[in-house]
Structures are given as C-alpha cells and as structure tokens.
C-alpha cells in the first residue's frame, strides 16, 4: 500500500499535496464558471425579451395581413375593425398620434430646452438641487393621473376660452402630455449641457461673453447630439403615451390633424380594443398587434435615429 493522500510523507511525491490544492482550485473554478453563466443568462435575457416582442407582434400581424391586404392597412381612410363593414386604415390612428404628439412636443421641446439651459447655465447650485428632484417627481406622476387632469381640469378651462371644444379632444391631452414630457427633455438635455467641459465655458467668458451668449453660442452647439437625443426620447415618449389619450382624447378613430377634435391614437386604440372582450385569435384581436407593430417600428426608427445622431455628432470638445 502506498501512503494515503491524507498523510503525505516525505517519501511520497510532493504532487499529492499540490494536486489536492489544485482540485480545490478547480472546484472554485467550476463555481465561478456557473455563477458567470447564470449572470450572463440574466444579461442575455434582455435580448430574449426583444426577440419575444418582435416574434409575438410579427406572428399575430402576419395572420392579420393574411386577411387584410397591406395596401388597405396603409391607405384606407377609415378604421372600423369592429364594424360589419370593417376597414383597417392605420392612417386614421396615425393622424391622432401625430396630432397629439405634435401638440405635446410644441410644449415640451421649447420649455424643456429653456429649463435645461436655465438650470445648467444660469441657476445657482441651490435652485438646481431643488428643481432637479422636482422635475423627477413631475416625470414620476402616473400618466392615468395626467389623463384625469386633462379631462376634468384642463378641458373645462379650454372650453371657457374656446366654447366649441368637445369634451374629448386631442388638444388638452396633447398639452398635458407635453407637460409630462418636459422632465425627460429637460433632464437629458441638461445632462448633455453639463457634460460640456468647463474649459469651453471659461474660454467664452474670458472673451467677455455673457451667460446667454455662452449658453447659446458655445454650450448648445457643443451639446447638440445630447440635446437631439433628448428630443428624440421626448418624441418617442409622446408617440408611445397611452393613458392620457385614452382618458382625455376620447378613443374615436378620426382622420384629422385638427387638435380641437376628438381622436384615437395607435396606443389608445389598443386600450379600447383590449377593454372589450375580444376572443383570442379573432381579427379584432389581431388588429392590436398590427397596430402595435406599427408603433414598435416607429419607436425603433426614433431609437436608431438617436443612436445614429450620437455616433455621427460625437461631441467634439
């Protein structure tokens, strides 16, 4: 019998002790590998989510487009999927989405940019310390609450100014949506502006420029790509916003670019259909996937545009 591994003697090869330690190291190694694999699958899960989104939307839309020709979907001027005489013109919903988003962006982009410039270049430390968390709070209010506000508070006020305004309208929803988006635009733009190196600002001030001149002539151009991607985020929020419109714009499909009319957007239409009890697999059920796919493609386009902008106009400090 040779010496047992647990009792290494002088005559035994030194290897026993070493291989012992090595095997412990190997088990440590295995454990590390398993943990790494688990963590990797968590990270890779996000890719699975994207694939699943695309798969579900494309699959259901595929069935939808077996029944409805894509030309009808794109060019029909009515959206009445639940009527006997069904029409599936996405243009109708797109008009609502574009109109409400347009109103919202007319509010959010100027106000958001001014706030960002003010906070980054004018406001003192204290104002910024109070305003930033406040903006976050503003962005954290549930959109259903904003919808309630648009319907029960803003619309009656607008009706006083403009008596013909219907109780449900894109204008009021769009305005409130704009307020909701301000924090996104302001906070991202401000981040971009604050990232502009102090050396550039000092250069400008040293030439005798005022705050506003420095802000508009040096900081803004230097932060262009960041500001642009803040705008794009704002646009994509506006296009994807659902509840404000579902509550305050009245979910009637309406081919219009007039914000004082009621209208349905892609998103609010999905809500409306989902609220009804549509059987799984019916054409009505599939319409919301086709609408959802349209929405996804739009936001994807905006995301890509944002990505491209960031790459194309890499900040040149």
């Amino acid at each position: 019998m040779s010496a047992s591994a647990s009792e290494p003697s002088l005559s035994a090869p030194i290897g026993t002790g070493v291989s012992d330690r090595l095997s412990k190291k190997a088990s440590r190694h295995v454990k590390e590998r398993i943990i790494e694999a688990l963590l990797f699958s968590a990270a890779a899960f996000s890719v699975f989510v994207t694939v699943a989104i695309v798969y579900v939307l494309v699959k259901e839309s595929w069935i939808f487009f077996q029944t409805v020709p894509i030309t009808d979907f794109l060019f029909d001027t009515q959206w009445t999927p639940l009527f006997d005489d069904a029409h599936y013109g996405i243009m109708v919903l797109l008009s609502g989405t574009l109109t409400s988003s347009g109103v919202a962006l007319l509010v959010a982009i100027p106000l958001g940019t001014i706030i960002a410039l003010y906070l980054s270049e004018f406001a003192g430390f204290k104002v910024r310390e109070i305003a930033k968390p406040f903006l976050e709070l503003l962005g954290g209010v549930p959109t259903i609450v904003y919808g309630y506000f648009a319907l029960t508070f803003l619309t009656p006020i607008l009706q006083k100014v403009y008596p013909d305004l219907p109780g449900f309208n894109l204008l009021s929803a769009g305005l409130v949506m704009g307020i909701m988006i301000i924090p996104y635009v302001a906070s991202l733009s401000e981040d971009a502006m604050r990232a502009v190196p102090m050396a550039l600002r000092e250069g400008s001030y040293a030439m005798g420029a005022t705050r506003l001149q420095t802000a508009l002539w040096v900081v803004t151009p230097a932060a262009t790509s960041g500001i642009a991607s803040a705008y794009i985020l704002g646009i994509s929020r506006a296009v994807g916003e659902t509840m404000i419109l579902a509550v305050a714009a009245g979910m009637q499909p309406n081919l219009t670019f007039n914000p004082t009319e009621p209208g349905a957007t892609i998103t609010s239409n999905i809500v409306q259909v989902a609220l009804g009890d549509l059987p799984h697999g019916s054409i009505g059920y599939q319409t919301i996937f086709a609408a959802g796919l349209t929405l996804l493609l739009m936001t994807l386009a905006f995301n890509l545009l944002g990505y491209w902008l960031r790459k194309r106009f890499r900040e040149v400090y």
Partner: protein
C-alpha cells in the same frame, strides 16, 4: 489704446447683453413655474375633489355600482401583490444583468448587442410590453389574466431601469476597491459579493424604488393583458378556504390594480364616480410621490456619506 468713448460703447453693449441675460433668466424661471404650477394645481385639485372621500371604508370596500359605496380594497391589494411579483422577478434579474455587464462582460460583439438592446428596450412604449405579455404570458404560457402575468409584464418594463441603476452604482465604486480585492486573491464572484454589491446597494436600491414607482402607475400594459376592471373579491390567501389554497395559488387569481380602478371611474360619466377617481388618484400620486421621495432621499444620503 482704450478711449473713454470706447469704454462707453462697451458699457452700452454690456447693458444691452445683460438685459437679454435677465430676460432669459426670467424665461427659465417661468418655464420651471409652468411645471411647478401644473403639478401643484393637479395635486391640489385632486386633493380638493378626492380627500373628503377618503375614509376607512374607501380602503376596505370593494368597487360598487353605487359610487358612494365603492372602495379600492381589491385595487390596492392587487397593486401590492402585483408589485411583489414584479420586485421578486425584476430585482434579481436586473441586478444580475447589471453585475454581469460591469464585472464580467468581455468586450465583444455579444456584449455590444446586449448593451444596445437594453437601451433600446428602455425606449419601447409600455403598451408594447402589454402586447408581448398578452401573446406570451396570457395565451402562450397560459398564465391567464392573472397577478402573475401582470407582475411579470411590469418586471420586463422596469428591467432596464434596474440594470442601468445597478451599472451606474457599480461604476461609482473606485477601481482601487476592485483591485484591492483581487490583490487579496479573491475571485470575481468573491469580489462582487463581498465588495461590489454591498457598496453599491444604496444606489441599486434607488433604482429599484424608482422602477417600482413607475410600475405602480403603469396602466396601459395591464389593461392590454385584459385585467378586469370590476373585481369584488380578493385572491384566496395561502392555506385558506376549502379545499385549502396552495402557497402560490394567489398568483393565478384575477385582479385589478389602483390605476385601472381609477381609469374605470374616470371613464364613467357620473360626477360621483369622478370624485372616486380623484380619491383613488390622490392615493396613487401619494404612493408614487412617497416612493420617488424615498429614492431621492436615499440618493442624497448616499452622496453625503460617500467616503472615497
């Protein structure tokens, strides 16, 4: 050489330029005020309408066809249960993904894809997640219109928020701490579990709270999966009833949540229901504000206590 006339000219230019500065400052404050004012008006209006309606009964009653008897019992219980599922699934997954990307991920195309993908996910409208859940959880996995489906949907929605928060708080830890740990012979996982996670926990917590605050108010995806708007019962508690319910039976129960209850009341024409909507909205805003406030506080404390 500077002449007195030149100096006067310069002063005139400065006076004019400064007037623009003043004007813009004013514009900035006014713009901020638009936000402040809207928020105040929104909150006060809802409080005036809704707070008188807030009584104990409101919290302990089921919805009803009669507005004055209706309450938010099933809604807030549903919200709590859905949030539980969301937190239990999104937090481990999000933190693990964040840790992987910061501490393990090699620089290759796979990592690039994951990173681009996460920022892309953050930009997808919430209602699209609802459609995903409708197709996947409700029908394909057969979870039905249940607490489980809703909780998982919201988990997917806030996953990017948690991943980003995790990565940012890990990145805030100085490189020297990593190196110190590795220098002692620690493995990557030992470094992560003994150092990285404890030091970044406050930052991660902030992200989790913000994500949950967002999830609590989400309405659209939950409507999309077909949550009912009128629920006059609670999920059976574990081991209650006859035959006794299993430990996890509640996750397959139908449910409603606060924002859906509010939506339901808002969309009714009777004024009495609008009051209920205001009351529910007040509770909802209060909850999200409290959570956001907590997150801001945690972050503030974190910044104050930071020692490196």
């Amino acid at each position: 050489m500077m002449q007195a006339a030149d100096l006067a000219a310069i002063r005139a230019i400065i006076t004019r330029a400064k007037r623009w500065d003043m004007f813009f400052s004013l514009l900035g404050i006014l713009s901020l005020m638009v936000g402040v004012l809207t928020f105040t008006v929104l909150f006060v209006d809802m409080a005036i309408q809704g707070v008188p309606r807030l009584s104990m009964d409101f919290f302990t009653s089921f919805p009803s066809r009669r507005a004055e008897n209706a309450g938010i019992l099933s809604a807030w219980v549903g919200t709590v249960l859905v949030m539980l599922v969301t937190a239990l699934s999104a937090v481990p997954l999000g933190v693990a993904a964040g840790v992987y990307l910061e501490e393990y991920a090699p620089k290759n195309w796979m990592t690039d894809i994951i990173e681009i993908n996460i920022s892309n996910l953050a930009g997808i409208p919430s209602i699209v997640y609802g459609l995903l859940a409708l197709g996947l959880f409700v029908y394909y996995f057969g979870f039905g219109q249940s607490i489980l489906s809703a909780g998982l949907t919201l988990a997917l929605l806030i996953l990017p928020v948690i991943i980003v928060a995790t990565r940012e708080s890990i990145r805030a830890i100085p490189r020297s701490i990593h190196e110190g740990s590795y220098a002692c012979g620690a493995t990557t996982w030992q470094t992560v579990s003994d150092h990285i996670l404890p030091y970044s926990s406050a930052g991660i917590l902030t992200g989790v709270i913000i994500g949950m605050a967002r999830a609590i108010g989400e309405t659209a995806p939950i409507i999309t999966i077909g949550a009912l708007t009128f629920i006059a019962f609670l999920p059976t508690a574990p081991f209650a009833g006859d035959p006794p319910a299993g430990l996890f039976d509640w996750i397959f129960a139908p449910f409603t949540v606060m924002p859906i209850q509010m939506f339901n009341w808002t969309s009714r024409p009777e004024a009495a229901f609008t009051v209920n909507a205001a009351a529910a909205g007040f509770v909802l805003v209060f909850m999200t504000l409290a959570m956001n406030g907590l997150a801001i506080y945690v972050r503030y404390r974190l910044r104050k206590n930071i020692k490196w």
